[in-house]
């Protein structure tokens, strides 16, 4: 079930931020944007992590053909139609054009150009070798300079260290959600909310985790456990409801909005010892081995993660783990690798359901049938 109060509350939160003089920098929800740098410069990083619907996708077709990633379409649609709960998008001061994928570039560029939002650029190398890491650092320097131009002052190393530490602590805490024995829908709700608000949410997150740990566990005994990989489940997306209605329960979110975000933590000693904060951000990029942007080892890393997780899960719980590969229609990264991922995992005895869909209501029935058929097979 969608969290009906999340967006109205977040809207108020952003308005307060603006009243405090904080400017907002939005970007499509990808895992290599240095939000720590944005934070250190005194801005609020707003991750565009909202699911879509028919109307939002339709609204984007003035700018892009319908054969574009449904998430990118919907993000444009949000700026184009500004539904009631998304009026806070009027508060966005800057938008980062980045290249997680080419749809990210196109959609971000359209948002800045046609909705009159000032543009910042942050491009990520396609590989993660030594040269690419050097390039990533150049991009960090470039963004820092642009942010400094806006605020009219230097961003000190001290401020940046502080932000890195703040986000690092926040991610470490958020990663504990993985181990909570709660329904996947509850898990993703808290993860989404946490990522949306950022470290401001830390006290509430700590309280939530403590409460769940001290209270009796929900009865999850009859559900089929699922690892979700591929595309993220964004805010307001009902996919998880369909999965749970069908008798499944997602226990691990191997996605942007999920483990990719909170697995990017840096060892505490390094934070305290390193002299150049950019090196820490570069290290974070380097360690982001499960993200789908980089080539050429995405498939290899993904296979290894899912295989290990499945094996350990079975050892720990005695239960078989299903794998849903969530493919948002026309997603380049996930879609192109889908058949290779499925074939290789199935060779290792791990059954995969490639769950391809866009945000239209019409495919709900078909999705349910496929989910139910897969879960039935898991019995």
């Amino acid at each position: 079930m969608a969290d009906t109060i999340l967006l109205p509350e977040f809207s108020l939160f952003l308005k307060e931020k603006k009243q405090e003089g904080v400017k907002i920098i939005a970007f499509l929800a990808h895992d290599n944007i240095p939000e720590e740098l944005i934070d250190a410069a005194g801005f609020f990083p707003l991750r565009m992590m909202f699911g879509g619907n028919d109307e939002l996708m339709e609204a984007s077709h003035d700018y892009l053909p319908p054969s574009t990633c449904a998430f990118a379409q919907s993000s444009i649609g949000l700026f184009s139609t500004k539904p009631n709960n998304f009026r806070f998008l009027d508060l966005v001061d800057y938008f980062i054009v980045s290249n997680h994928c080419v749809s990210d570039i196109c959609a971000s560029e359209i948002i800045t150009k046609y909705f009159n939002i000032s543009r910042l650029n942050f491009y990520v190398p396609y590989m993660t070798n030594e040269s690419s890491l050097k390039y990533f650092k150049l991009e960090l320097q470039n963004l820092k300079e642009k942010l400094e131009d806006i605020i009219g002052e230097k961003i000190s190393d001290e401020k940046l260290f502080k932000s890195i530490k703040k986000y690092n602590d926040f991610k470490k805490k958020l990663s504990q959600v993985d181990d909570l024995e709660i329904l996947g829908s509850e898990k993703i709700k808290i993860i989404q909310k946490a990522i949306l608000y950022g470290p401001t949410f830390l006290p509430e997150l700590e309280k939530y985790i403590l409460e769940v740990k001290t209270n009796p566990h929900q009865n999850l005994g009859l559900s089929k456990d699922i690892l979700l990989t591929g595309c993220s489940i964004f805010i307001n997306d009902n996919l998880i409801d369909l999965i749970e209605e069908g008798g499944g329960n997602i226990v691990y979110f191997d996605t942007w909005i999920g483990s990719h975000y909170y697995s990017q933590v840096i060892d505490g000693d390094l934070i305290n010892s390193n002299k150049d904060p950019f090196d820490l951000l570069v290290l974070r990029f380097k360690n982001n081995i499960y993200g789908d942007h980089s080539v050429p080892n995405f498939l290899k890393q993904k296979l290894s993660l899912i295989e290990n997780y499945s094996r350990n899960y079975k050892k720990k719980t005695g239960k078989k783990l299903g794998v849903f590969n969530h493919i948002i229609k026309f997603c380049d990264h996930i879609s192109l690798m889908a058949s290779f991922l499925k074939n290789e995992l199935q060779e290792k005895g791990i059954q995969v359901l490639n769950l391809e869909r866009d945000y239209s209501r019409a495919n709900r029935g078909q999705l349910s049938t496929r989910i139910e058929a897969y879960l039935e097979m898991m019995k």
Partner: protein, 451 residues
């Protein structure tokens, strides 16, 4: 199609290029097994390092056996004895005598070349889908996957150069899942030339060169690089001459449909130079000479009243009937994709310059100013070429499943209307031959604007 064939036989260089394209498999087998050369898979025109390394770059579809018209096969055999010029002269002579059977045969040859290539592309497209690539991707990627599934195992290596198209980058990653044997050699082009990014790209190219050296067991010297760049520059110079000096002029050395056919052939073959850079260069130089000679003699067609229609992009797939239809409707189609993407820029090769760094500059220029980091730059590239061609109209092929180039059309349309004030339209494309009637209708409506 006979109108095209009538013209084309007098260009022996075109016959040679077409023959080398279709007869690639035998050539490649000879290189691999007799001469022990390494075959390197490439796509898009990034073959330079492979040539400089002494390997044989190959656009993967060329590893297939093409059903070559038996007469073209005879011509190919005859050319090895008599030389292509003599064969071409003979054909012209016979055709001028009016021996209808021979004329028919020649017509068939040319028609077959184009049809054969297109059929193979479609076959690879189907094979790609059968082997797991989602039908949601563009024609080009599906065909490339099909080509690797069917023949990729014959490659010793693949040269993978990252670009802004995320589907293309992932396709390159998928090659090792399709075939495990070929060595994967990567060049990561940083998205922007900021700070010391040029140095970083130079290092990346040097790294790729070392991998080529490991592949062949031979050292690649600066002079080898310069030598290849020199050949490449000559190819590009001839290609640009055809695009700007000839295609934009008012008198064509042949009818405009033939001319477009030649440009389409160049667009396909420029990617791997038909696996032989010297031969390809010589053919292009001959082609320019042959065209100029015909223009000098007044052989050809006055096209001054025919609107110049810039048709782009075609490299990821397009409907090949387009130029015939445009011609029938009174226009002339011009193809110049590689110029849009700035891949026809020459690479400086003076002895005092570091060739690796110069190659890095070339790649950066193509990335930043050609295809661009974003659609603003890319659309400017289309505008630049349309202006230089003095185009009267622009037709944009919007490939189903292309999330990179096709997505720029809205922006492009605005800029074309604002800055060039010429008509423009988009034609959607999925597969060759699938939508010809619709293409005809769209083009008919479009060409009405010039009447």
């Amino acid at each position: 199609m006979s109108l095209i064939a009538d013209e084309i036989i007098t260009f022996s260089s075109v016959l040679r290029i077409a023959y080398n394209l279709l007869a690639g498999r035998n050539y490649l087998k000879r290189k691999k097994f007799r001469e022990k050369k390494k075959l390197v898979g490439i796509s898009l025109p990034f073959s330079d390092l492979a040539f400089a390394a002494g390997t044989v770059p190959v656009f993967p579809i060329r590893m297939h056996t093409f059903k070559i018209n038996k007469y073209l096969a005879y011509l190919g055999s005859a050319s090895s004895i008599f030389g292509w010029n003599n064969v071409s002269n003979f054909l012209s002579f016979v055709k001028n005598l009016g021996i209808s059977e021979i004329s028919k045969i020649v017509d068939e040859i040319i028609e077959d070349v184009i049809d054969t290539i297109n059929k193979k592309y479609n076959e690879m497209y189907d094979l790609g889908i059968e082997n797991g690539i989602s039908s949601d991707f563009c024609f080009g990627l599906k065909s490339l996957v099909g080509a690797h599934v069917s023949k990729g195992r014959n490659l010793d290596a693949c040269l993978n150069v990252t670009i802004r198209c995320s589907a293309y980058n992932k396709y390159m990653e998928s090659l090792k899942a399709i075939n495990q044997n070929p060595q994967q050699i990567w060049i990561d082009i940083p998205p922007r030339n900021i700070g010391n990014a040029l140095e970083i790209l130079t290092d990346n190219i040097s790294h790729a060169i070392r991998e080529f050296e490991n592949l062949t067991g031979n050292t690649i010297t600066d002079n080898q690089l310069r030598e290849h760049f020199k050949i490449g520059n000559q190819v590009k110079k001839s290609y640009k001459t055809i695009i700007y000096d000839i295609s934009a002029s008012d008198f064509y050395p042949c009818n405009p449909a033939t001319f477009s056919e030649i440009m389409a052939l160049l667009s396909i073959t420029f990617q791997d130079y038909n696996s032989n850079s010297i031969r390809y260069r010589d053919n292009l130089i001959s082609l320019v000479d042959e065209m100029r000679e015909r223009i000098r003699k007044g052989i050809g067609m006055d096209v001054s009243k025919m609107p110049r229609i810039f048709v782009t992009p075609i490299f990821g797939g397009w409907e090949p009937k387009t130029h015939d239809i445009i011609y029938e409707l009174g226009g002339r189609a011009i193809y110049a994709d590689w110029e849009v993407l700035e891949l026809l820029e020459e690479i400086p090769m003076s002895n005092h310059l570091n060739p690796v760094e110069e190659y890095a500059r070339f790649l950066f220029n193509a990335t930043e100013s050609g295809i661009g980091c974003d659609n603003d730059t890319l659309t400017d590239s289309y505008l630049r070429v349309a202006k230089k061609l003095n185009a009267d109209g622009l037709i944009f092929f919007q490939l189903f499943g292309c999330h990179s180039v096709s997505n720029c059309y809205t922006m492009l349309r605005e800029k074309v209307r604002r800055e060039l004030e010429i008509p423009t339209t988009a034609i959607t494309f999925n597969k060759i031959g699938e939508n010809v009637e619709q293409v005809k209708t769209r083009l008919g409506a479009f060409m009405e604007m010039f009447k």
